[in-house]
Subunit: 381 residues, 2 copies
């Protein structure tokens, strides 16, 4: 046995050294603050302890892009406000304390971005939603670490396998699912709940069992590695990473079908652009292509350049593609117009497609529902 | 094609509605702040924009439990300080802005806890450390969602499978690896880098390929589900969850060896207590048992009660266990004394064991190295 003797005096010294920490550690002295609290009427009460602050506000996608709502301070230094009621859904929010935007210090539910993050809160409804855990068989989410040849460093790709995958021998169709600029490869499972959505749709017989591949959409090494990151630069690297690194990894590692009839690509915002461009540029690889609130060019000319491959021979595109599906929230002031322009352009050129408009802005409330709407359409003859 | 027409006036209205957001969005107006920045001399510069704050400080495990270090404000409202130099390692930190403890708003590398979280920064050395990505084959981390019968709700357990797992038919030994009270099931991979550590040790031939199972150590549903959480209550539920829910899931889902000679349990702090109690209470299940900085009772009497099974018949314990291994940092003022007492007690009773003392306090810098020291000892005849 290896052992060291510690002098008895250290115990007493420890008390002295701990004292300043205890006195400074106000968060430990007080009763734990509860924030956020979802009330019975589906309002949310937000609270944050900031006794010295001059002004505190809360913002988030429950109020879309409206101005942040001011909070008021009580005599104990706790700022609070109650907002809503809100529809049952998952919302992100941040506090602004004086001029600094921060996560809720006591909420462990976080959506991580490549530069900034947000806190998350779910307003439950009377019955579980399709993104809620339900007593059905659950698939597995796999975090695959790989050296990206084109980005030059370690990255992770998340892969969902459906319930029963481990026990069987079946091969499955694959959906490549891309996130937007504010997120990472884990966004579609932590915030998007893609795994739970598919678990539920599959259990209800509404979607075919499928593998979902969730790449990191920025051309840089994994943010979780904590190194200083180079800024995102050549965005074509992401396409090269997906086609050259991730697709071979997935097809070597998982029992997936490898023909284009059983391969789909979809994503939102930046990832909507990536899905539409990669998918439509590679009809030999993807026969199911979808963009949610896609961040595509605003001008028709630029759209024609970007999607030249698909537009060049509409008959061939129609004969090849099983599905071209775009969607956008009508309150998405940035991206509704170009998606509308794109849909009109596809119409004019005679490219068969579906353009779904829904309520909502540029927010996860739209994209979870887009996945719920899209998944049942995939890999259906 | 489904389509809606949006009135042309909305575009102009959008500009008006966006304006307040742009004016309020100071974080977007300024050039992106770089924080933290690791300098060539292995010092770290921390920065945070907080123009209205009266005082800002930084604390974290790079300065252990020393008082937080004050930061100073420049004319642009950016507070900064440079600390160190520090040894190459991964450190956590938070800012305290006036009286509020917050993550670094611009650092995407975060370690998530069940109540509070911290930002992470790595100080690289001249050569990659064992917890750094290296050009070796990488294993896979699996996130398994399951309904916990004893906790009553959806939880996730992380499972690492070693490089080559997917291609082969081999069965592997299993290490159950527990986290401390401030973390969740993802702590050992995001902050602990257990997957990269094993990738590297296996590549160097220093550790046997093994499966690692990382449960959630608090008796509550997954924090990522965003529901209000019940407070942690009956801690024996965690043992029931591991033995009754997780172990059957793992042995059904993964190619693991299912005898006690090929099953280990280890963990730090709260998870050290769980590992030592679950492991030593169940010699029929675990023949390799380890605690890192274990949060065990301080009094010898309480230790004797807690570990009565192992102490009752030392000869049988010695004949059964392949390894009983404890470790603690000598600066861990809270937990070094009881771990020392426990080692003496085991000595007195004649229970064969190893007690490793290292520099360091109650911090991840110690636990990553504990895993590096322990893994090569496991499953070796």
């Amino acid at each position: 046995m290896t052992q060291m003797t510690l002098p008895r005096t250290v115990t007493f010294a420890a008390v002295l050294v701990f004292l300043p920490g205890l006195l400074a550690g106000q968060q430990r002295r007080r009763a734990p603050l509860r924030s956020p609290e979802v009330n019975a009427d589906r309002t949310i009460t937000f609270r944050v302890y900031a006794p010295l602050a001059k002004s505190v506000s809360v913002g988030g996608d429950m109020i879309q892009d409206q101005p942040r709502r001011p909070m008021t301070k009580d005599s104990a230094g706790i700022w609070s406000t109650t907002l809503g009621p809100f529809a049952p859904d998952i919302y992100d929010y941040t506090f602004q304390i004086d001029d600094v935007t921060v996560l809720d210090p006591v909420n462990p539910s976080v959506t991580l971005g490549p530069r900034t993050s947000s806190s998350l809160i779910e307003v439950p409804g009377g019955a579980p939603e399709l993104w809620d855990p339900q007593p059905v068989p659950h698939g597995t989410v796999h975090v695959n670490w790989y050296e990206s040849n084109v980005v030059g460093g370690l990255r992770a790709v998340y892969v969902y396998t459906p319930p029963g995958y481990e026990e069987g021998q079946e091969r499955y169709p694959v959906l490549y699912l891309m996130h937007g600029a504010g997120f990472t490869q884990e966004g579609w499972t932590t915030t998007g709940r893609a795994n739970l959505i598919l678990d539920n749709l599959i259990a209800q017989g509404q979607a075919k069992p499928m593998v979902i591949v969730m790449p990191f959409g920025h051309p840089q090494v994994a943010t979780t590695l904590g190194f200083n990151q180079p800024p995102a630069s050549d965005r074509s690297l992401v396409a090269q990473d997906i086609l050259g690194d991730i697709m071979p990894l997935v097809e070597k590692t998982y029992r997936v079908l490898t023909d284009a009839d059983h391969r789909a690509i979809a994503g939102f915002s930046m990832g909507g652009n990536q899905s539409l461009t990669i998918g439509l540029d590679h009809p030999e690889l993807f026969h199911w292509v979808a963009g949610f609130s896609a961040a595509i060019p605003r001008q028709q000319e630029a759209l024609e350049r970007t999607f030249a491959t698909a537009l060049a021979d509409p008959d061939r595109t129609n004969a090849t593609l099983k599905l071209l599906w775009t969607a956008c929230g009508t309150d998405d002031r940035g991206w509704f117009p170009p998606n509308q322009t794109f849909a009109k352009l596809l119409d004019e050129k005679g490219v068969r497609h579906t353009f779904v408009t829904t309520p909502g802005a540029h927010q996860w409330q739209v994209w979870r529902r887009n996945l719920i709407a899209l998944a049942p359409l995939l890999f259906v003859d």
